[in-house]
């Protein structure tokens, strides 16, 4: 047994790659449901949207592009579905230069499912460069950077934008991003206009933004695909987040098993060296 463990210490890394490869292939062949526990920071985002009354406005900013689509799309779909389910009015915008087409597709698809009408139930403002300037300008009036929406329709001619001037007229802002625009929303958005702000971020980025949660500058975080899966669990919307959880679960279990094996093998080899008087 000890010889086996010692061999495990020096295992060819290709066995590890094979195990990970199988870990991501098996769920593709036979998927299964993963019960997901909801973290407090994700629950706060859900509660914020859930507490809104029908007819209230919510501002969604989808600042990502096809390169981070895999992580961001699930949470975008889940939030938009929840908002339309609650008959909220939605204002959408993107500050990513490659994101406009993608956001338009999401909005059109979800709105069609809920029979929501562009210009009456929601509005997509489109894209403008220089996020900091756009956020500051929207705090004065959405019409300053966006006199017309993505399709060229003047905002003043849309019933959904009647009486809606700036961030003070919406319940809050939820920003979904895989880049640095989160910092702009915190500094120039919440910092300047003090509206409620929540973030949806990639898994790697989210660890850096818990400090803003702690300080109260944001009220919630949706971290990566896991966060999206948690959101879909509460919203009861079977989306891509939940669909990807089996892959994450199995891959993490495999990695944890390998870590445990490597530690067991390490201690076993240390004991053997100790017995032989070789030291560590």
């Amino acid at each position: 047994m000890r010889d086996f463990l010692e061999k495990m210490m020096l295992i060819d890394r290709r066995w590890i790659y094979l195990a990970i490869g199988l870990a991501v292939i098996i769920p593709a062949i036979k998927s299964f449901h993963v019960p997901v526990a909801v973290s407090p920071e994700v629950r706060k985002v859900y509660d914020f949207v859930d507490d809104a009354k029908p007819g209230e406005y919510i501002f969604l900013c989808f600042d990502y592009n096809p390169s981070t689509m895999a992580e961001m799309n699930p949470m975008a779909y889940a939030i938009l579905n929840q908002a339309f389910n609650k008959d909220l009015k939605v204002i959408l915008v993107t500050l990513d230069q490659f994101g406009a087409g993608m956001v338009e597709e999401i909005a059109t698809r979800v709105a069609a499912n809920h029979k929501k009408v562009l210009g009456e139930d929601y509005c997509f403002l489109g894209y403008r460069p220089y996020p900091a300037i756009v956020i500051l300008a929207m705090g004065i009036d959405f019409r300053v950077p966006f006199p017309a929406d993505y399709y060229g329709t003047p905002l003043d001619s849309m019933s959904v934008m009647q009486g809606i001037k700036n961030f003070y007229d919406v319940k809050g802002v939820i920003e979904i991003t895989g880049g640095s625009t989160a910092d702009f929303w915190i500094i120039y958005g919440n910092g300047r206009y003090d509206f409620p702000l929540a973030l949806g971020l990639t898994g790697v980025m989210s660890a850096d933004y818990y400090q803003y949660l702690q300080s109260g500058q944001i009220f919630g975080i949706i971290p990566g695909v896991k966060g999206a899966a948690e959101y879909e669990t509460i919203v009861i919307f079977p989306g891509e987040g939940m669909a990807r959880m089996p892959y994450q679960v199995i891959a993490h279990i495999v990695i944890l098993l390998f870590i445990i094996i490597s530690n067991v093998a390490y201690f076993a080899s240390r004991k053997k060296k100790g017995k032989l008087g070789g030291g560590v």
């Binding site: 990970i20 526990a37 973290s39 702690q214 944890l256 390490y266």
Partner: protein, 205 residues
């Protein structure tokens, strides 16, 4: 003079940008954006240097039997993208350039990115061993963070609270400390460059 003039340029422009930071006027902002624009211009003007280096190195490798295949692939791909991308309209969806970009380059990039999953496993296998007290703390913290992906019933709820605390408190404390050190180090390096103490970037006659 060959060394003094560049040092003078670096010192004066560095000092000027330092002063600019504290002046909020329009002309100060103009100087800042003007300098930024010039950084972009210099980068673009330097691009032919990079392209020349790449093409030259790979054309020479064409002569070497063992290395000519990949160099040939690179040069052919380079030529194809340059020729198909010459027109301004090439950036619109449906053109040959964008078709190759969308259907070849983006999937290849995603494939390279996906190697991370495998490499994380092998790196974790090698690195997360309880060799010392600090390594053990690292190992236990990694377990807490990774357990949040595994459904463990009521244990998951406790684990999520532990994750939130770990990320909000010790993780943030360490990050802030490292960031302060980085800030001071970057400031010191910048001051050394402005004062001419650090000159290795300049080269020699």
């Amino acid at each position: 003079m060959k060394r003094e003039i560049p040092l003078l340029i670096v010192g004066i422009s560095g000092f000027a940008m330092l002063i600019q930071y504290f002046i909020p006027t329009d002309w100060s902002e103009f100087i800042f954006t003007y300098a930024q624009d010039w950084v972009i211009v210099i980068g673009i003007l330097a691009l032919p240097l990079g392209i020349w280096s790449l093409v030259k190195a790979n054309v020479e490798k064409l002569k070497v039997p063992g290395e000519r295949f990949y160099s040939a692939v690179l040069l052919i791909g380079f030529l194809v993208m340059v020729l198909t991308g010459l027109k301004r309209e090439s950036l619109e969806y449906g053109t040959t350039f964008m078709t190759i970009f969308t259907n070849v380059l983006i999937p290849i990039q995603a494939t390279i990115f996906s190697l991370l999953a495998f490499f994380i496993a092998s790196a974790a296998y090698r690195a997360f061993r309880a060799r010392s007290v600090l390594a053990t703390i690292l190992l236990l913290t990694a377990f807490i963070i990774m357990f949040r992906f595994i459904p463990l019933g009521p244990i998951s709820t406790v684990n999520l609270s532990a994750v939130a605390w770990t990320l909000s408190v010790p993780n943030m404390a360490a990050k802030r400390a490292i960031m302060m050190g980085i800030g001071l180090g970057a400031t010191a390096t910048a001051i050394k460059i402005i004062l001419g103490i650090e000159r290795t970037y300049m080269g020699h006659d």
